[in-house]
Symmetry: C2
Subunit: 190 residues, 2 copies
């Protein structure tokens, strides 16, 4: 698939169908993830992949209570009714784990930046594009307490579970959510 | 260009040639940036684009002193001799500015995650791929103090300049830096 088609066509999926995902497609996603750039080429990422629905069920359970907590805190009505069934519909979960110790020289700045998180995010974008190009749908999930995800997936305290990517074949409806155009987002300095 | 070819072929460039970049290619990069996913579709990014070498020169000046500071703090010898001429070689700079106020429900977590930074990083990866697919080379620069970059580009204190992308036609030599394979980076839980 053309790279521009992938970038423009990719969208978040919140409704997966019951259909297994080919292992080689996941491998290809991961093979793209590791080609992201990272500070000093430290490759500060790890990926936990599972097709065992036990994990989806544990995750959904904590996600439900987290969602209730956030709905109460935010007062956002849409959040209270937000359907998170996609967590147990998706046949594959990929937990993206950053390693805060794998940083480049940015660690020595007066105001250190979070290069490991940026690199992990770039690796996620590569995965989402690779998924889309193979006919798969994805959701980049970040509504979780890290302590819960560390516990479910046995992640060490010093590692940072940044995101969980839900992967499967999706039912897509409607249009891609609109974007503010570059005329609103870009300043040209000449 | 095929999306997998773009993902695998893209690499960081530290040697740009003196050749102007077509405006439409930059527009296409920005058009891809804004198609990244973001929490609650908040699109927490802004891009400052310049082809005025005055900015490159100001940036290089602060980058030199930052580099010296980091070399002293880190004791990393390669950093002391790291050539940053690419900053004034690149005909185009794109400053990626995140807006910490444009977040989704993750702001209400006990341990809030930095969704706006993740979204901006995904938008950068889209830009890097779009550049590569158009024959351009890029460098994702993060070795700067944010206060310096805010001053040079007149960025408000409440906005977060996350990265500067150097863009131009590049001289590439050698191979893509090696990656640790997925056998080292992936755990399969079944």
């Amino acid at each position: 698939m053309d790279v521009f088609e992938a970038i423009k066509g990719r969208r978040s999926c919140r409704k997966f169908i019951e259909y297994p995902v080919e292992r080689e497609k996941i491998i290809k996603m991961l093979g793209c993830a590791i080609y992201a750039p990272s500070p000093a080429n430290k490759q500060p990422w790890e990926f936990i992949v599972t097709n065992n629905m036990r994990y989806n069920q544990m995750l959904k359970k904590v996600a439900e209570s987290t969602k209730e907590k956030l709905a109460a805190r935010s007062g956002w009505k849409w959040l209270a009714t937000f359907n998170i069934n996609f967590i147990t519909e998706a046949p594959i979960l990929i937990v993206v784990v950053g390693d805060p110790k794998q940083h480049g020289a940015e660690q020595f700045l007066d105001a250190p930046s979070l290069g490991y998180q940026h690199a992990c995010s770039a690796s996620i974008q590569n995965m989402l594009l690779a998924a889309y190009a193979q006919g798969l749908s994805t959701l980049w999930l970040s509504l979780f307490e890290k302590k819960d995800v560390r516990k479910i997936f046995s992640i060490a305290d010093e590692k940072d579970p940044l995101a969980i990517i839900c992967v499967g074949y999706g039912e897509q409806s409607g249009e891609t959510p609109p974007r503010k155009g570059i005329q609103e987002k870009v300043i040209f300095l000449s």
